[in-house]
Symmetry: C2
Subunit: 241 residues, 2 copies
């Protein structure tokens, strides 16, 4: 059973203002939930239709029916379990290695997919502009597939941060140096821009190295790449050595 | 105004069986619609809240209000116009150059994003297994951002096709040759697998070259990449030369 108050609390966590007010967020699905339980995140309560999760104390574990899960889930097709976690305290920014900076990424699926990529490529620090979608949006959490627990994400005044850094700042544009022929460092900041508008003018003025992903083929009509796939190509080039 | 019969027809096109029955599909949004109008696709009717599209005959162009568009749209937030097109006749499979084969890609956003990538990298032929999501699903059409008109897509018995081809067949796995150190041809078939299960056993037996995208960093906990981002990295490696 899930009480009316629990339903009200959990569904409210779909909205950022309530996540901030309660300092809570939730994750869904066995794989993602298990990864967060195994991480440093603090589990508040687990609701599950399954008989596993035996490592979770019964005091904070409730067996529920499918119809109960449906009442608290953000998914059209709920996925066996939902877990509420405390929002961790924001850690200090790591300024070594490669840093990925996101300038107003709006789509939660894109942010989640990009964090999963960072986890794969060993990028430990992501900086989000204040206009970027919230990290604890349920769709972001879902799309990270557990990577949210392994990548350090900070929301910053990106323009100010880039004004003060000594690190080289890379960005991709339609015109720039061919990324496949560029010498790319193991330390620096890579900026990826908004889905519709790319990198904003303000941020563009802080870019020290303009890169381009060249198009191939005879026709070349595609105008742009999805930001997550562009990030995949850029990170692959920086990391492949 | 949009008549009740038009609303019924267009909303029915959200389902594959009705798309096949009517041999029609629809696209939404100015950019995507304009690209399809400018392509070889045959426009049946355009519904728009805007005063442009003057190149479209008034006989097949209806000005509508936002509330009418909402009744026919598949989007939560309709995007100024919706256009119904004839489903084109499937073209012959092109067996030159690089071919991308999709083994049961289920998510419409992933298929659309992958077609946009193919357009960027000049991949002219995509083969979808019969289990792959339908090309004319409105979410696929949307995510291609117009690339649907420039990439040739055929649905085939993928296992049979791969059994009969003389071309090398590449696939990515957790174990395989490091893709960054492999010599990759300009002719061949690249197989990408299902979101949850990867390449199926049946298809795996047809792979002639196993590749892997290596992980980086100290922790290496990420288990997998999203299929669209993995496709981005693989196509980038095949094309970068």
């Amino acid at each position: 059973m899930v009480s009316k108050n629990q339903i009200k609390l959990i569904t409210s966590l779909q909205q950022k203002k309530y996540r901030i007010a309660h300092q809570l967020f939730f994750a869904e699905g066995v794989k993602g939930v298990q990864e967060l339980i195994d991480s440093n995140f603090e589990l508040v309560h687990l609701y599950t239709t399954l008989n596993d999760f035996e490592n979770v104390s019964p005091a904070i574990r409730t067996m529920v029916q499918d119809q109960d899960l449906k009442k608290i889930s953000a998914l059209a097709t709920p996925n066996s379990c939902l877990a509420v976690f405390k929002m961790p305290i924001e850690k200090e920014i790591k300024t070594s290695g490669l840093i990925l900076a996101l300038d107003a990424i709006r789509d939660p699926g894109n942010l989640g997919t990009i964090l999963r990529l960072c986890d794969w490529f060993g990028i430990q620090q992501v900086l989000c502009s204040k206009e970027t979608v919230d990290l604890y949006n349920p769709k972001v959490v879902q799309a990270t597939m557990g990577s949210i627990s392994r990548v350090n994400v900070n929301y910053v005044d990106l323009n100010l941060f880039l004004s003060q850094t000594q690190l080289p700042v890379y960005g991709t544009f339609m015109n720039g140096e061919n990324i496949y022929q560029s010498s790319l460092p193991s330390q620096g900041i890579i900026v990826m821009g908004n889905e519709a508008n790319g990198i904003s003018q303000e941020i563009e003025s802080k870019i020290t190295s303009r890169l381009t992903i060249p198009k191939f083929g005879a026709v070349q009509k595609a105008e742009s790449l999805n930001v997550a796939t562009a990030t995949a190509i850029v990170l692959s080039e920086f990391c492949r050595g």
